[in-house]
């Protein structure tokens, strides 16, 4: 067990190092910009005096390395700075200005909600369909499922989203096509409003998970112990669920974790289509108006979520596979 703990700690350390380097990459990339933030904030009306004032206020006159560590420290204490877009409206640094953290926090929880709803629908659906496809492999059902999943993997998210809007919101008004969610909304209404984006994401991720489940199970079907189970006269369903599935869990868990990582980062397009007030929407809006502090913070959050889930996938597959636990 101690070797397992050591491997997990090793992976965690590696993940932290990666995150640190990623933060450097993001910071350096943003600071490669010609001119500087002060000019970007002031735009056309920049005078040398006002530029110098803002540079001083934002600490832009400090050397790059000092600024990087200040930014990193801020990130660690959830002080993500002040958004440029809010600067224009509020008194700079005054009571009225909205910090990036205040902007991001509610949207992050909205995105997490959407991802959770999607996962609750997609994971059971994908595993069930994958088992069925493995059970009835090479039949019409399997071929139809294969064609359907291949098509839905390769279609852009917005195509799926608009098809769903067309059929479930415009032609048969079952769900609303705009997900205007706000705080204090009752749970059922919130669920109903985020149903279409969740279904779109489900379509996108289910295909991948289902194909992986099917492949993982079919891989095992040639092994002698499955042959034995068959010869004992067990039903095909029982052979797959009781004998093949537990041994196929490692790759399945892995692909589920990877798809959850995709859910948190890949929601950008879907959130834009449904005007869902999540972090992806905020990110795209900030990209368009070049609101650098928000872009930087969102980017780091996405990267952290991505690294964390990949790490989880890694660790879970080691835990569930004894052969990986004892490397030669």
């Amino acid at each position: 067990m101690s070797s397992l703990l050591r491997i997990i700690l090793q992976r965690l350390g590696l993940g932290l190092v990666t995150l640190f380097v990623v933060s450097i990459v993001i910071f350096v990339a943003v600071n490669l910009l010609p001119g500087d933030f002060a000019e970007a904030i002031l735009g056309q009306g920049a005078t040398p005096e006002s530029v110098a004032k803002i540079r001083e206020d934002l600490g832009l006159d400090q050397p790059l390395i000092v600024r990087y560590f200040e930014w990193l420290m801020g990130m660690l204490t959830f002080d993500l700075g002040t958004s440029f877009a809010q600067l224009n409206f509020a008194n700079f640094g005054g009571a009225g200005s909205v910090t990036v953290a205040e902007q991001i926090a509610p949207r992050l929880s909205n995105t997490m909600f959407l991802a959770t709803v999607t996962a609750c629908i997609a994971v059971p659906l994908a595993v069930t369909l994958g088992i069925l496809a493995a059970l009835y492999r090479n039949t019409a059902f399997d071929k139809a499922a294969n064609m359907f999943t291949l098509s839905s993997i390769s279609s852009p998210e917005f195509f799926m989203a608009y098809i769903l809007i067309l059929f479930l919101a415009v032609l048969n008004p079952i769900f609303p096509s705009l997900s205007n969610i706000f705080d204090g909304m009752p749970f059922s209404e919130r669920l109903e409003k985020s149903m279409l984006p969740a279904l779109t994401l489900t379509l996108v991720v289910t295909a991948h998970m289902m194909r992986m489940t099917r492949a993982a199970i079919i891989n095992l079907l040639a092994s002698p112990y499955i042959e034995m189970a068959r010869l004992k006269g067990l039903s095909p369903m029982r052979v797959i669920v009781k004998h093949a599935l537990p041994n196929a869990l490692a790759p399945i868990i892995n692909v589920i974790a990877l798809n959850l990582a995709y859910l948190i980062t890949g929601v950008v397009v879907v959130e834009v289509v449904f005007v869902y007030p999540g972090i992806g929407q905020l990110f795209v809006d900030s990209v368009k108006i070049r609101d650098i502090p928000v872009v930087q913070a969102c980017c780091l959050i996405f990267a952290a979520a991505y690294i964390l889930l990949n790490l989880t996938a890694d660790i879970l597959s080691i835990v569930s596979n004894p052969r990986l636990r004892h490397p030669k």
Binding site: T18, V25, P34, L132, S155, Y162, L166, V268, C299
Partner: protein, 400 residues
């Protein structure tokens, strides 16, 4: 609540139907093995498929226009979908038939073992390539040409605001949608193709270089790639596009060129991984040793010895990578930071025309333009995936 009740009732009916079907089969055939050994799941599947089939036929022949004079949009779309599917299947079948008759012995053999999906994929890719190359000759109008009327409906029916001159209508500032779709093939597919080639050039040569030289260069490149791959690609692309948009303003270079470079670099990390892995297996071969002893240079080793032997996996990866690049560009354009106007591009068209979908219930043709643009993207990636799937299946020799 009544919807749930109906659903439950249907489910019960299907269960009963499945049981009856199996029992009837058993008695009618005198307990033939086919029915005797049929599990309940299989019987349920048959009954479900039959029920869906009957419902589809019933729905297909519903009237196009309701008694109240409102078009029955669901039926219209369903008919289009079914007709499109049948036409695609027939076209793929005829194409495969043609491939079996014409051509050299090698291609004939290839077509004989080809599944219909792969034939469909190849046909679609050929059509896209032709449209992209000859877009200027095929398109009735220019891509940025602003014509007389804006917001002309698709379908060419003057009664609901169409115009036979513009079969797919015009957009909100009066550009012909059909022409823009055709030019979109040139711009979107062309730019994606260039980007993929660039990504393969960068990733492939660096990967082979790392595999050949190894040592500190390999370590440096591999760790760098690890870091870049830890950032989700669409997010990283958006971040870099923000920065590039400032640079593009400063230098007066079109943003599209920056986009090509950024996506090529991001995607080259994935190519690098593959090229290095494949290259590592090749550099231990004897003929590489022989070439080294002959005193061949690095360029000869990489391009004349390693590259030809790594071609097969790289080609399959090229198809998949093209799909990713194509979808990334479409997504960036859809979000408004990709290919910039006045160039016609499918992602931008979807975003601009999307509000028309809300009118589909009254006028089904209104939703055609945005869905065609999005569908054009989907169709190409699906086609490439079908072909790659078949190639991988063929080369791996997997049967189950």
């Amino acid at each position: 609540m009544s919807g749930l009740m109906i659903f439950a009732a249907l489910l019960v009916a299907l269960f009963v139907g499945a049981y009856v079907f199996r029992f009837a089969g058993q008695t009618a055939t005198g307990n033939a093995p086919r029915f005797r050994d049929m599990t309940f799941g299989v019987a349920f599947g048959y009954v479900l498929a039959a029920a869906l089939f009957i419902w589809a036929i019933y729905y297909y022949f519903q009237p196009k226009v309701l008694d109240t004079g409102v078009p029955n949009a669901g039926v219209v779309f369903f008919r289009w979908a079914v007709q499109g599917f049948i036409i695609a299947a027939i076209a793929a079948f005829l194409f495969r038939l043609l491939g079996r008759m014409v051509g050299t012995e090698g291609t004939k053999k290839l077509f004989r073992s080809m599944p219909l999906t792969a034939a469909f994929g190849i046909l679609v890719i050929i059509i896209y390539a032709v449209v992209a190359v000859f877009a200027g000759a095929i398109a009735p109008y220019g891509q940025a040409e602003i014509l007389g009327a804006a917001n002309v409906m698709a379908g060419g029916d003057p009664a609901i605001g169409g115009n036979p001159d513009y079969p797919l209508g015009t957009d909100q500032i009066g550009r012909d949608i059909l022409s823009r779709l055709i030019y979109g093939a040139q711009n979107t597919v062309g730019i994606a193709f260039i980007t993929t080639c660039l990504a393969f050039f960068i990733g492939g040569s660096l990967g082979f270089l790392a595999a050949t030289l190894q040592g500190w260069l390999d370590q440096l490149l591999s760790r760098g790639v690890d870091v870049l791959m830890a950032i989700p690609s669409l997010i990283f692309a958006l971040l870099l596009m923000t920065i590039a948009s400032v640079w593009a303003n400063e230098l007066g270079v079109p943003l599209t060129i920056f986009m090509v470079l950024i996506i090529a670099v991001i995607d080259s990390t994935r190519v690098y991984r593959l090229a290095r892995a494949v290259g590592l297996n090749i550099v231990v071969m004897d003929y590489i040793e022989a070439a080294k002893l002959r005193g061949e240079g690095l360029g000869y080793l990489v391009f004349k010895e390693i590259l030809p032997n790594a071609m097969a996996p790289l080609l399959a990866e090229f198809g998949l990578r093209f799909c990713f690049v194509f979808l990334t560009i479409a997504a960036l354009s859809f979000l408004g930071v990709g290919i910039q106007p006045p160039l016609a591009d499918w992602g931008t068209m979807v975003r601009d025309l999307a509000p028309f979908i809300n009118f589909a219930a009254f006028a089904p043709t209104a939703a055609v333009a945005p869905l065609l643009a999005a569908g054009a993207i989907a169709l190409l990636t699906v086609a490439v995936n079908f072909v790659v799937d078949w190639m991988l299946h063929k080369s791996s020799g997997l049967k189950e």
